[in-house]
C-alpha cells in the first residue's frame, strides 16, 4: 500500500508458510462451521481445542533457532569499531551543540523573567499565567520528507 510508505506490510514468512496458513485457517473455519451446523451441546466444550495453527505458532515462537550473527575477520572488526566510534563522536557533538543552544535559550528566558519580576508585579503575574489544557495544535505534524496530501481529520 503506497499510502503506508515506510509501514508497508512485508511478511517475514515464506511463501510456502503463508500458503499453509491459508489452508490451515480455511480448514479451521470449515470445522467450526460443521460443528455449528451439527449443533454442539449447549455450554459444552469446543471440539477444536488444539488448532493446527497453534502448532505452527509454538514452532515459530519456541523452536526456531535465532540466526547467527555474521562472522567478521580482524580487519573487518577494526573497520566496524572505527565506524561505530566515529558515529558515537558525531552523535556526542550534535548533542553538545543542541545542549548549548538549549541552555542559552533557558538563560535568556530566566533573565527576562527575573527582570520583569523586578520591574512590574502585575505584568509578571500575567506572563506567568498559562493556558489551561495546553496542547500542541494538530496541524503541527512531525516533519517528514514525504508528507501525505490528505491529512487525517479526526473530527469528521
Amino acid at each position: 500500500m503506497s499510502a503506508l510508505g515506510r509501514f508497508a506490510a512485508g511478511s517475514s514468512l515464506s511463501t510456502s508458510r503463508r500458503a499453509w496458513i491459508g489452508r490451515a485457517s480455511k480448514a479451521a473455519k470449515e470445522t467450526v462451521k460443521r460443528t455449528a451446523a451439527s449443533g454442539t451441546r449447549a455450554g459444552g466444550p469446543s471440539h477444536q481445542t488444539s488448532d493446527a495453527r497453534y502448532e505452527m505458532m509454538k514452532q515459530i515462537l519456541f523452536q526456531e533457532e535465532a540466526r547467527q550473527p555474521p562472522q567478521l575477520s580482524d580487519e573487518d572488526m577494526d573497520r566496524h569499531m572505527t565506524i561505530l566510534r566515529a558515529q558515537k563522536i558525531y552523535r556526542m557533538g550534535e548533542s553538545a551543540k543542541r545542549r548549548s543552544e538549549r541552555e542559552g535559550k533557558f538563560e535568556a528566558m530566566r533573565r527576562a523573567y527575573d527582570a520583569l519580576e523586578a520591574l512590574d508585579e502585575r505584568l509578571f503575574d500575567g506572563a506567568c499565567q498559562k493556558e489551561a489544557n495546553m496542547t500542541f495544535p494538530r496541524q503541527m505534524r512531525v516533519a517528514t520528507e514525504t508528507p501525505p496530501t490528505r491529512v487525517w481529520d479526526y473530527l469528521k
Binding site: 506490510a9 511478511s11 497453534y54 543542541r98 512531525v142
Partner: protein, 272 residues
C-alpha cells in the same frame, strides 16, 4: 588499540573458519534514529522547556497551595476513622513535588508497555499463544507471559496461572510503535476523536485501551491475520517522566497523539 578491543569482544563470539573477506561492515546501520525520537530531540524538547517554564518564586507559591490543599483534605476528613486495613489501602505514596524548571529536565516518553489480558487462556492455554504472537508481530519484540499474582475464585483463577502477555518497549522500538499507532492505527479506528483532556493517572502515565477490531489495523497484521484463531484487544500504557497530567498531555500532543478539546473555558490559569 581498537583492534585489540574488538578482537577481545570477538573472541567471546564463536567464529567460523575463514574470514568474511568483505571490505565493509555487515552489521545493521547504527546511524539510525527513529523519526519521533529525532522530532523530540530536535524540536519538541526546546519547545516544551520554554512552554513549561515557571519562575522559582511562582513555583514555590504553587507548592504551598498544593500542600495547603492536601492538608485541608486531611483535616476535613469527616465520618468515622477507617479500619487499619482500609487505612493501609488508602495510604498511597504521595506524588513527588514538581522539580524546578531547568534546561535539562523536560519530560520525555520513558517506556511503552503493550498488554493483552487473555481471559480465554483460563480454559485453553493455547490461546495465550495468539496473544504472544500478536504482540511480537505488532511490537517487533518478543513478548513475555504474565502469571496471576492473586487468586480470583469468580473467574476460576489461581495464583501462578499464565493469564496475560506483555511487551515493554524502550528506545527506538518504542518510538516506532508510537509512530505506527498515531499515523496508521488511530486514524483507521471507527469513531475515534482522540484522548480526553482528563486523561492520565496524575503521575505521567497514560493508558489507551483497544478492542479486538484495532489489532488488525497494524500494517504487519495484514499479512498474517488469518493465522490467529483468537483476536483480542490490547492496552497500551505510555509512561512519561512528566510529573503531572497537563505536562504529560502536552508532551503526547507534540508526538501527534490526538486530543479532543472540550469547549474552552476562558480565564482559567493552571499549574503545570
Amino acid at each position: 588499540m581498537l583492534g585489540a578491543a574488538g578482537r577481545r569482544i570477538a573472541e567471546l563470539v564463536p567464529r567460523a573458519i575463514g574470514s568474511s573477506g568483505r571490505g565493509f561492515s555487515t552489521r545493521a546501520a547504527t546511524g539510525y534514529q527513529a523519526r519521533l525520537s529525532q522530532h523530540y530531540h530536535n524540536t519538541l524538547r526546546d519547545d516544551l522547556m520554554i512552554l513549561q517554564y515557571v519562575p522559582p518564586s511562582v513555583r514555590a507559591r504553587q507548592e504551598d497551595i498544593e500542600q495547603a490543599q492536601l492538608q485541608a483534605m486531611k483535616d476535613n476528613a469527616g465520618g468515622t476513622p477507617p479500619s487499619a486495613q482500609r487505612q493501609r489501602q488508602k495510604m498511597r505514596p504521595l506524588r513527588p513535588a514538581q522539580a524546578e524548571s531547568a534546561a535539562h529536565n523536560t519530560a520525555y516518553v520513558d517506556k511503552v508497555t503493550v498488554h493483552i489480558r487473555c481471559r480465554e487462556a483460563l480454559n485453553n492455554k493455547h490461546h495465550l499463544l495468539s496473544s504472544l504472537m500478536a504482540l511480537q508481530v505488532i511490537a517487533g519484540q518478543r513478548a513475555e507471559v504474565v502469571k496471576a499474582k492473586n487468586d480470583a475464585a469468580p473467574w476460576k483463577l489461581r495464583k501462578g496461572m499464565p493469564i496475560a502477555a506483555k511487551v515493554e518497549l524502550t528506545g527506538d522500538r518504542m518510538y516506532e510503535f508510537l509512530d505506527k499507532l498515531v499515523e496508521v492505527v488511530l486514524p483507521r479506528m471507527k469513531e475515534y476523536s482522540g484522548l480526553r483532556m482528563d486523561a492520565g493517572d496524575g503521575s505521567g502515565s497514560f493508558t489507551l485501551g483497544f478492542d479486538n477490531t484495532a489489532i488488525g489495523l497494524f500494517p504487519e497484521m495484514e499479512m498474517v491475520y488469518d493465522m490467529f484463531p483468537l483476536v483480542t484487544g490490547f492496552a497500551v500504557n505510555i509512561s512519561t517522566t512528566a510529573g503531572r497530567n497537563p505536562a504529560g498531555r502536552l508532551l503526547l500532543s507534540g508526538l501527534n497523539v490526538p486530543f479532543l478539546h472540550a469547549r474552552k473555558v476562558k480565564d482559567e490559569s493552571f499549574m503545570l
